[in-house]
Structures are given as structure tokens and as C-alpha cells.
């Protein structure tokens, strides 16, 4: 991981999100919980597609995970998911190994950071 890698969690994105709903923290918490639930399923689906060498099955969960992650400021995971989506679209998983290795680890780190945001008084 280099210094130039995007942050696991860009808290300013969450702050903006919160500001866009008149500072309703509970809404942001609700979003994070939805993300954690859906994201876990997407990560499972990504892993299943990689194990099964099924490029087509990789595209959809990778795309959705990318999109949701970006919305919550989970920038590093969004980038990895994007790579996986493109690999899936290429039709061959030959180059997936490196990104595949990162996705589970980044998902864990992202989940931890988001849970920490909830339990902290960030923006509270």
C-alpha cells in the first residue's frame, strides 16, 4: 500500500452526505448499516465468482460494491471493486489475482472504519 492509495474511509464524504440531509446523523447510520449488510453479500458474490472463474458473475457485485463504496467515501475499496468490474467485463479473470487478494482485506478495514464512525461521536 503506497501513500498515494486512496483512504480506506474519506470521512469528509460522510460529512457532506450528512450535510445534504440537514445533518441527520441517524440517516447516515442507517445508510452505513445498509451498506454493511449489502456489501458483505457483494464481497461473498465476488469471491464466489473468482473461485468459480466466472467473469460474467463478477461484474454485477463488483459494480454495485464500487458504486455504494464511493457514495460512503470508502475510496480504496471503491477503486478495487472498479478494477474487478473492469476485469470481469474483459471476460477473463487471468489478471484478477492481485485485486482479488485485496478485496477481502479492504472490506474488513472499511467495515471497521465505518463502525468506528458510528460509535464515535463524529459529527455528532
Amino acid at each position: 500500500m503506497s501513500e498515494h492509495d486512496p483512504a480506506i474511509l474519506d470521512a469528509s464524504v460522510l460529512d457532506e452526505l450528512r450535510a445534504s440531509v440537514e445533518g441527520d446523523r441517524s440517516f447516515v447510520v442507517e445508510l452505513i448499516e445498509a451498506y454493511l449488510a449489502d456489501g458483505a453479500a457483494h464481497v461473498d458474490a465476488i469471491n464466489a465468482a473468482l473461485r468459480g472463474d466466472d467473469a460474467e458473475a463478477l461484474v454485477r457485485p463488483a459494480h454495485t460494491l464500487k458504486s455504494s463504496s464511493a457514495t460512503l467515501g470508502a475510496m480504496r475499496l471503491a477503486g478495487t471493486a472498479r478494477e474487478l468490474e473492469m476485469i470481469g467485463r474483459s471476460g477473463s479473470l487471468a489478471e484478477a489475482g492481485e485485486a482479488a487478494g485485496r478485496v477481502a482485506e479492504e472490506w474488513q478495514a472499511t467495515s471497521d472504519a465505518l463502525r468506528a464512525w458510528i460509535s464515535s461521536d463524529s459529527g455528532a
Binding site: S20, V21, A34, D38, V59, T64, S67, S68, A70, T71
Partner: protein, 370 residues
């Protein structure tokens, strides 16, 4: 301030749908959600009038925003719906394609709520305008349909020219009254009163029906305006409301045609025991034309000496005579052969008038019927 409406949010990410839904409800919209294009189209087709705007993610599995938009714009019932494309920054090329395909506008993620509101308002305003326009067009269509039906009905009750006149833009001034030279033809049956006394009502209506049908065809053929039927009496005028340069000639030709067609009719009636003859009076002159009558029952009619003269000539005509005034005779001398019947004393006119009977079309004209 946005007026209430329903927005359909189409995005594969639940997190993104939640964010958009929250921002949209915050500005007064109700929300429907779809996970991808296929689901969105199903919802739209099930509720084509309920949804006011679509927020469409560009990149989606199953059916992406581009395909969804194309399907939407290809559907007659949905193509007027405003569609806001919602895209990531890296998808701007696709957004351009979507705008070309008919998307109203686009938003980039993360969504700035103020830009969202501004674009929504603009799109919804356009939608409302479009809805009003559709409503107006529908009213217009119903109105036009009603007017067309009324015109059709009017033309059954009135002479087609008069029905046309009533529905036209210059109708009001024409109906209010105007003065014009016209040719008037009065027709009636000799022996009708005696026949009416003796015959069954059904028989009489049958005979009148045959007679009126024959007359009606000839009137239409020569472009006459039927002023009224009164039993066996029929008044027709020419040169109004539609101007006709050859109005005198038309009236005379029509009368000759009627007399020719009357012969076989009268022959068949004779076999049934009825002796009926056909008489016509024709005069030309100025009359005042327009709406005549009273509120609740108006006719389009002509008033003037010309109508009186034609009527009197008709009552003086013997069976199968077409009596024309001296002026008419002078104007059609090239067309028909006439024989003078001398001077007639006409009730209501101080001086006797010269009249002629039309014997028939001259040989040259007989060969070329209208």
C-alpha cells in the same frame, strides 16, 4: 419549493437509492424504486401516469441506463417523461450519449442536493407544461369531434351550403343579413290538394317522398340552396350563400332537369290513379338574405320582390310549365327556347308582368348536360 410528484429512482445500489430517496423526499417528492432497467420499465408500464420523473443510473447490471432510456423513449406512453441521468464522474461519455438520446439532464455522484433540486424543478416544470399541453390537446380533440358531429347533423337538417355557412368564420355577418342578387325557383305540384284529400296518408307520404328525393338530387346537382319544403312546394335560390356567376342559368337548367325527371314519376303515379303535374316559377332580382324568424326557431331565408314573383309565377304555371320572368328569359335566351305566355296579372304587383314558358334547352345545350 417543489410541488408534490412521484420520482422513480433506478440504481443497482441500495445505498445510492436510499441517499437519493432521502434527498428527494426532503424536497416533497414521493419515491418509487427499481434496482435496474428491467424493473424500472415494468413499474413505468404498470403506472404510466403515476410517475413524474425518472432518475436513472447510467451503469447498471441487467439493463443499463442507456438501454433503459432507449426503451423508454421508444415507448409512446413514456417518451415524454423527464429522465435525469445519474452518473459517476468517469461515465461522462455515456451521459453525452444519453442526452443525445433524449435524457433531460444529468447529475454526477455524489449528488449535490442543491443541484438536484434545481434540475428537478426544471424537469418537473417541463413535465407539467407537457401534461397541460396534452390535456389541452385532448380537450381540443373532443371539441373538434363535437363540432364535426354538429356539422354533420346540421347538414342533414339544412342545405349543405347553409350548414357550411353557419360553421364558417364569416357566418355571423352573413346570417345577420346582406343584400344580393339571387335567382329564385319555386316548384309545386298541380293537383296536389285534390290528391291529398283523396289519398291515404301513407300513399301521400310515399308520393311526396319520391318527389322530394328527385328534387333533392337535382338541387344538389345544380348547386341550389334549398330554402324550404312546404308540402309539395319547394323554394330554391342560387348565388347565395355561395356566389355563382351563372346563377340564372343554373336555376333554369335545374328546372328543366326536374321537369324531365318528373315525367316518369308522374307516369307511374298515373297508373295508380293520381294525376299530378309539375309547375315552376323562376325570377331574378335583389333580396335580403340572412337569419329570419325568432329566437328558438330561425331559418336562413330570402326576402324581396324576387321571391314573391317566383312564387306567383309558380302558382300561375300549368302542368309541366316552367314560367320565367322577362328578365330571366332575356338572360338565358342562348340556353333555352321560350314561348311567351303574355302578360300575367300577379297578385300584389300593381302592373301585369310578361312571362315565358321554357320549352326546353336549345339543341346545342341539350347535347351537353351539366
Amino acid at each position: 419549493m417543489t410541488q408534490a410528484g412521484i420520482a422513480l429512482v433506478v440504481d443497482d445500489s441500495r445505498v445510492n437509492r436510499l441517499v437519493l430517496a432521502r434527498q428527494l423526499t426532503g424536497i416533497g417528492l414521493e419515491i418509487m424504486e427499481a434496482e435496474h432497467g428491467v424493473e424500472a420499465l415494468e413499474l413505468l408500464r404498470a403506472h404510466p401516469d403515476a410517475i413524474d420523473i425518472v432518475l436513472l443510473d447510467v451503469m447498471m447490471p441487467e439493463m443499463d441506463g442507456y438501454e433503459t432510456l432507449a426503451a423508454l423513449k421508444g415507448d409512446e406512453a413514456l417518451r415524454h417523461l423527464p429522465v435525469l441521468m445519474v452518473s459517476g464522474v468517469e461515465e461522462l461519455d455515456s451521459v453525452v450519449r444519453c442526452i443525445e438520446l433524449g435524457a433531460t439532464d444529468y447529475l454526477t455522484k455524489p449528488i449535490n442536493p442543491r443541484i438536484l433540486q434545481a434540475r428537478l424543478n426544471a424537469s418537473l416544470a417541463a413535465k407539467r407544461l407537457r401534461d397541460l399541453e396534452l390535456e389541452y390537446l385532448e380537450q381540443q380533440r373532443v371539441l373538434t369531434q363535437t363540432i364535426e358531429r354538429q356539422k354533420t347533423e346540421l347538414s342533414r337538417f339544412l342545405s349543405p351550403q347553409i350548414a357550411q355557412l353557419i360553421s364558417s368564420t364569416e357566418g355571423e355577418s352573413m346570417l345577420a343579413g346582406h343584400r344580393r342578387q339571387i335567382t329564385v325557383a319555386f316548384c309545386d305540384l298541380r293537383g296536389f290538394t285534390r290528391f291529398a284529400e283523396g289519398a291515404d296518408p301513407e300513399e301521400m307520404l310515399g308520393v311526396l317522398g319520391e318527389y322530394h328525393r328527385m328534387m333533392g338530387d337535382a338541387i344538389t346537382e345544380y348547386g341550389g340552396t334549398l330554402e324550404h319544403f312546404a308540402g309539395d312546394g319547394v323554394m330554391i335560390f342560387f348565388n347565395d350563400p355561395v356566389p355563382q356567376d351563372d346563377h340564372v342559368e343554373r336555376a333554369v337548367r335545374m328546372a328543366v332537369a326536374m321537369r324531365d325527371r318528373f315525367r316518369p314519376l308522374s307516369a307511374s303515379w298515373r297508373k295508380r290513379g293520381y294525376e299530378l303535374g309539375f309547375g315552376v316559377g323562376i325570377a331574378v332580382g335583389y333580396a335580403t338574405l340572412g337569419r329570419i324568424g325568432f329566437e328558438g326557431r330561425y331559418d336562413y331565408g330570402a326576402i324581396g320582390n324576387v321571391t314573391i314573383l317566383a312564387s306567383r309565377l309558380s302558382s300561375q304555371a300549368g302542368a309541366n310549365q316552367i314560367l320565367v320572368s322577362q328578365m330571366v328569359a332575356g338572360m338565358v335566351e342562348d340556353l333555352v327556347e321560350v314561348e311567351s305566355v303574355g302578360e300575367l296579372t300577379i297578385k300584389g304587383l300593381s302592373r301585369p308582368v310578361s312571362a315565358s314558358n321554357v320549352v326546353g334547352l336549345t339543341e346545342r345545350h341539350a347535347a351537353t348536360p351539366r
